[in-house]
């Protein structure tokens, strides 16, 4: 080991000497190409001494963790490595400094700190390998080495990444003083982009390609290849061309590995050159729809703080105060993180008390947006509002303001937006505040102020935008249908209820199958008493509107309930429902969902069911069959229905046969009811047979096949 160390000491010593020698004759050196390669490896090897030296330092701190002997070996090894890497780094760095285009002052600092570092690490190695005593000297030199390391590292980083690279994100570089008013578009938008992506190589201390972009004058001069742009022609401008070169191209800018320009940044640079590469023109001197202005605006928003921020002369309210002043019905919050300006919103008018407004006095300086929409604010309260002297936006929509005392708002020099829609303010009262200097928009929709008055106001105050009624359509529209309130089967004793969501609507209806219109049919006033299943048809009418479309529903009404129901032939396996009990369980199905307990489906078998009324049968005069009509699903009305009756279940007689009408074409699916009227009778037993359509008609896609019959409920009246 000793021998190896000695060998290394010699090698390092050699390099040290070489280094110092070269340093003296720097100006005369012609660097061969292969050494330039070595120079370019400087940024790579430089990490070695940094790492090793810091590691060494850490070892020293934790020296108690090792035995003395081991410790010494480790330190020695570290010293060898750090020293050799430091000297090689310094050497390579030296080569690089000769071949690169660097300014003078930073490079000198870096050069000397680097060489010093390599020297002192060599000194440490020598000291440690030979001298056993003198720990103090060793440790203090070590400390010095680390300091030197930071200095060299830092000056190096300034060369590569530009001044202030490290602290750039935290130091805001004096942009605070730039505002849209006093700074040019270049300063606000273009320079920040260049600063982020270009300045690190093209600055006073490191002028790659002899191009310095940091000052306007030198930037205009261009680099070793001349001017960087041609005004008005981005496509022929060197700068843009280089940006668009393939990433792997040597001329591509920024070079591969450096942060690249984002598409919107490129667009900005192009637009800037296209518009003449002007360094002086201010943002607002460009047309509002100008591409450059648009692009710049978005970048400015992200770089410069909202200019308003500085305009707020007040201190933020304390977080405690904001917390305390918040209630569920009054929200107070800063416009954004760290903004001193506050917004206050009020909600739920029942919870509003005038106190809740007065309490805002505690934040009267900070309040810039106040939303009192729909609160019971009256003219008397305007006085309170007028104390919030920094208010910019005031929403009084749908409050009880009439305008008395509105002139108190004149104490709000910053008020920009005033919403008075839905209040009863008149033109004259409004006039009292329109001279406010900052006022730019006033919302007066749904106020007594009429259209011609708005025009007058607009002429008198061209600076202010008056927003009045936007909707000017006078065409007549149809109402929506009335709504049936009842759901499902109507229980005995319940009444049919209709309603409409629009106030002032007249509902006309019929339950006898006739079609009501705006003059015929009953006017709905009270709930309708129905005893049996009916077809309810109703429309809604109102002046100024067309009548609604027809509401057409079957209202099923509860009837007598048989004691026992039996299915004589089972329903189809796929649609068994809950067997016979489905027929009288009081639950209706939907015609689009058939696989559920309400429905019994029949195709092969006819529907045949027997109903027994026990010992004291009621008098029955009508039976209603509720069935599905879904032609697309092959579900048709039954072709024929028979009703049988009798006291002896074995000897029933035929009471009636009804052939139901068959459809001629497809029609929307719906629930239907088939009335089976019989002579009033009080038999113990009834039997109902309903046959599915045996052959589907010619017009149907399943012509010739068997039809389905679906029944969900049977009612006896």
């Amino acid at each position: 080991m000793q021998r190896a160390i000695r060998f290394f000491i010699n090698v390092i010593f050699f390099i040290q000497v070489l280094l110092i020698f070269l340093l003296f004759f720097e100006n005369r050196i012609q660097l061969p190409v292969w050494l330039q390669v070595a120079g370019r490896m400087h940024p790579m090897v430089l990490h070695l001494p940094i790492g090793i030296l810091i590691g060494l330092f850490v070892f020293l701190i934790f020296r108690n963790m090792f035995t003395r002997k081991q410790f010494r070996k480790v330190i020695l090894l570290c010293l060898v490595m750090s020293s050799i890497s430091a000297s090689i780094t310094a050497l390579f760095g030296f080569f690089l400094s000769i071949s690169g285009d660097y300014g003078t002052s930073s490079i000198q600092q870096h050069k000397f700190s680097g060489v010093a570092l390599s020297v002192i690490s060599f000194f440490l190695l020598v000291w440690y390998s030979n001298v056993k005593k003198g720990e103090i000297v060793f440790y203090s030199s070590m400390l010095f080495t680390i300091l030197l390391l930071f200095l060299a590292g830092h000056t190096g980083s300034v060369l590569t990444h530009g001044e202030n690279f490290i602290f750039e994100p935290v130091s805001s570089k004096g942009h605070e003083n730039l505002t849209v008013e006093n700074a040019s578009l270049y300063q606000l938008a273009v320079m920040p982009v260049l600063e982020r992506k270009c300045f690190s190589c093209h600055n006073e201390s490191k002028a790659k390609g002899k191009l310095i972009m940091t000052t306007v004058e030198k930037f205009k001069l261009g680099g070793e290849n001349g001017k960087e742009w041609i005004e008005g022609n981005p496509d022929s401008s060197r700068m843009i061309q280089n940006i668009y070169l393939p990433l792997k191209d040597d001329e591509h800018m920024p070079p591969d590995g450096k942060p690249q320009l984002a598409p919107h940044e490129i667009s900005l640079l192009e637009a800037w050159i296209k518009s003449g590469a002007d360094f002086e023109k201010k943002l607002f001197e460009f047309d509002e729809t100008d591409t450059l202005r648009l692009l710049a605006t978005s970048i400015i928003n992200s770089v410069v703080k909202d200019p308003k921020d500085d305009a707020y002369p007040f201190k933020p309210a304390s977080a405690d105060l904001i917390k305390r002043i918040n209630t569920p019905f009054r929200t107070v919050f800063p416009l954004y993180i760290n903004s001193p300006a506050l917004q206050a919103d009020f909600f739920v008018k029942e919870a509003f008390k005038i106190n809740s407004l007065e309490e805002l006095k505690e934040i009267k300086d900070q309040l810039v947006i106040l939303n009192l929409s729909k609160m019971p604010i009256t003219d008397g309260d305007i006085k309170v509002i007028s104390q919030f002297s920094n208010l910019e936006q005031l929403n009084l929509n749908f409050t009880s303001i009439k305008g008395e005392g509105i002139s108190a708002l004149k104490s709000l020099p910053n008020l920009e937006s005033l919403s008075l829609s839905g209040t009863s303010i008149g033109k004259d009262k409004l006039n009292e505040v329109l001279s406010l200097p900052a006022l730019s928009e006033v919302f007066i929709w749904n106020t007594p102020i009429n259209e011609s008055e708005v025009l007058e106001l607009q002429q008198a105050y061209p600076k202010i935008e008056f927003i009045h009624t936007l909707f000017k359509d006078t065409s007549t529209l149809a109402l929506s249908k009335p709504i049936l309130v009842n759901e499902g089967i109507i229980k005995i004793g319940d009444l049919l209820q209709l309603k409409h969501t629009m106030p002032g609507v007249v509902i006309r209806y019929s339950i006898d199958g006739s079609i009501p219109d705006s003059v015929s049919g009953f006017v709905y006033e009270n709930p309708i008493d129905v005893k049996e299943t009916v077809k309810l048809q109703a429309i809604a009418c109102k002046g100024g509107w067309f009548c609604s479309k027809l509401l057409d529903v079957i209202c099923f009404v509860e009837g007598y309930k048989p004691n026992q129901v039996t299915l004589l032939k089972p329903a189809d396996k796929q649609y068994p429902g809950q067997g016979a009990s489905s027929l009288t369980d009081g639950r209706k199905g939907f015609t689009d969902v058939l696989k559920e307990p309400s429905w019994l489906g029949f195709r092969e078998n006819a529907f045949e069911a027997k109903f027994n009324f026990g010992d004291s049968p009621p008098t029955i005069h009508k039976i209603v069959l509720s069935y599905a009509d879904n032609l697309g699903g092959y579900i048709f009305p039954p072709s024929e229905v028979e009703v049988w009756g009798g006291n002896n279940s074995e000897e029933l007689k035929l009471l009636t046969i009804i052939k139901s009408e068959q459809p001629e074409a497809y029609r929307p699916q719906r629930m239907r009811a088939l009335d089976l009227t019989i002579d009033p009778s009080n038999f113990l037993n009834y039997k109902i047979v309903a046959k599915p359509l045996s052959v589907l008609p010619q017009w149907h896609s399943g012509k010739g096949q068997k039809g389905w019959f679906f029944v969900d409920e049977i009612f006896f009246y």
Partner: protein
């Protein structure tokens, strides 16, 4: 049949999708679920690239993937109009089989029931490493395997198929399976696992709070034949679990999250648990085990407005009778529209495997407990049962309190509730119509009770007890 678990992932029925894309999606779901449920690893990270923290390479991922990649399935069997409830491969279970072998199954249909299962096809579908996880970006072909950092998978030892996977999983040397499971069980009872991140035992997960305990439980569990019942007994009969959950000021200050387990757990019930509590305490609960899912009360319009209006589930057809009172576990869940009341209580939408549900505390939960039909019905039925009994109001309130909170009321609690009861009686007396309407809640049959006023007042008191924080909190 249990392999059906691996098939019950999300399945698309959207016409026009690319078959292979979704087939790969299904297999990934299985792989991710396996990783999370059994190994508590964030396996899915390795779907697109090597895992950034844990020793699972992308190759490992697709080796595991290969186990599940042999199912002869399709990404899309049919769109919603043709969809079946069980896409192939599937098996048919007949009533005969239920009676003979599968006696634990509660099959109510008379027709045979089809069940999706895993089945390895006879030809071996090659499994590729998918570059960046894209379904058609085939990389190298891999064979089955598992992350060797956990335990080397030797197919000659374990076997070259999913059985081998199972054997590997339950190998004595597999460090994860038992730990992961006992940890999850622990979480069920204490609200927090011994390893807090019950779904991540990897580098990004937390260290166990009680490592020896975790190991002991895991070994004990494994050595006793992976007996879950026994494990649960071990946990719930432990003195740790039986501790009081009263937290002194000092305990709360030193250990707000009860990591040290110096007190008993205090956690909110799960979505299903809230329902079960109401059912069980009021006496509504139907204890039947198994059977098809049930469609319980659901607000109108919530289901219909989000479906496409097609298919067998286009409408919500609510069940009636006994089906309304089955445990929350049996509630029908449609992935696209999970029961809203359950979601409010952090129920899962069954989209992906979840091993730890959140336990939030929101105003919507209050609304459910206050106004949901079942909660009202439970209060009503419970009140009716109490009214039928020959007992004093105090005894009735005591009983309700005891049944819902599992403890006797304290003096001041009882006093408050009784005063409330009397006040409500006065209130209802002034407007008996209100009482009549209030006690109509729910479809469950009514007891014949003449004193409607007292019933309504008692129902109000019972409802109040149901709404106490303690009712839905395991204390």
């Amino acid at each position: 049949m249990a392999t059906g678990f691996n098939r019950n992932h999300k399945i698309t029925q959207e016409g026009g999708i690319i078959d292979e894309e979704y087939r790969v999606e299904y297999v990934s779901d299985r792989t991710n679920t396996f990783g999370k449920a059994f190994l508590a690893l964030t396996f899915e990270c390795a779907h697109c690239h090597d895992h950034k923290y844990d020793p699972i390479s992308q190759k490992d991922y697709y080796r595991t993937f290969a186990f599940f990649n042999r199912v002869p399935e399709k990404g899309l069997v049919g769109d919603i109009s043709l969809a079946s409830l069980a896409d192939p491969p599937r098996i048919k279970i007949t009533s005969q089989e239920i009676n003979d072998i599968l006696t634990f199954i509660n099959k109510k249909d008379t027709t045979p029931v089809e069940v999706m299962v895993m089945k390895d096809s006879t030809w071996k579908r090659p499994t590729y490493v998918l570059t960046r996880g894209v379904y058609d970006a085939h990389g190298e072909v891999v064979d089955i395997g598992l992350p060797s950092e956990i335990l080397l998978f030797d197919s000659t030892v374990y076997g070259n198929n999913r059985l081998g996977l199972a054997k590997w999983l339950f190998d004595k040397n597999n460090p994860l399976t038992a730990r992961v499971f006992v940890n999850r069980m622990w979480q069920e009872f204490f609200g927090r696992g011994l390893v807090k991140t019950s779904g991540d035992f990897g580098m990004q997960g937390e260290m166990p709070s009680h490592p020896q305990l975790l190991d002991w439980l895991a070994v004990d569990f494994r050595e006793h034949g992976w007996d879950i019942k026994r494990l649960i007994k071990q946990i719930v009969t432990s003195s740790t679990y039986k501790q009081s959950s009263v937290a002194s000021e000092q305990k709360r200050a030193t250990d707000p999250d009860n990591i040290l387990l110096a007190r008993g757990p205090r956690t909110r019930l799960t979505a299903e648990g809230v329902r079960d509590l109401a059912l069980a305490s009021s006496g509504l609960l139907v204890t039947e085990v198994g059977g098809p899912s049930v469609k319980v009360y659901q607000p109108k319009g919530i289901w219909e407005s989000s479906t496409s209006g097609r298919g067998v589930l286009a409408r919500y057809v609510q069940d009636h009778g006994e089906n309304l009172y089955r445990r929350g576990l049996y509630s029908f869940i449609k992935r696209t529209v999970p029961p809203p009341g359950m979601l409010v209580f952090d129920g899962s939408n069954r989209d992906q495997c979840e091993v730890n549900r959140m336990r939030t505390n929101t105003p919507l939960q209050a609304l459910v407990l206050l106004n949901e039909p079942l909660m009202l019905e439970a209060s009503r039925v419970f009140a009716e049962r109490l009214m039928v009994e020959q007992s004093t109001p105090e005894e009735k309130v005591r009983k309700a309190f005891q049944s819902i909170l599992c403890r006797q009321p304290k003096k001041e609690e009882l006093a408050l509730l009784l005063t409330y009861y009397e006040e409500e009686k006065v209130g209802f007396n002034q407007s008996p119509v209100k009482a009549k309407k209030y006690i109509e809640a729910g479809e469950y049959q009514h007891e014949k009770i003449n004193d409607v006023i007292s019933l309504a007042a008692l129902m109000q008191v019972v409802q109040t007890i149901y709404n106490m924080d303690e009712a839905i909190t395991k204390t």
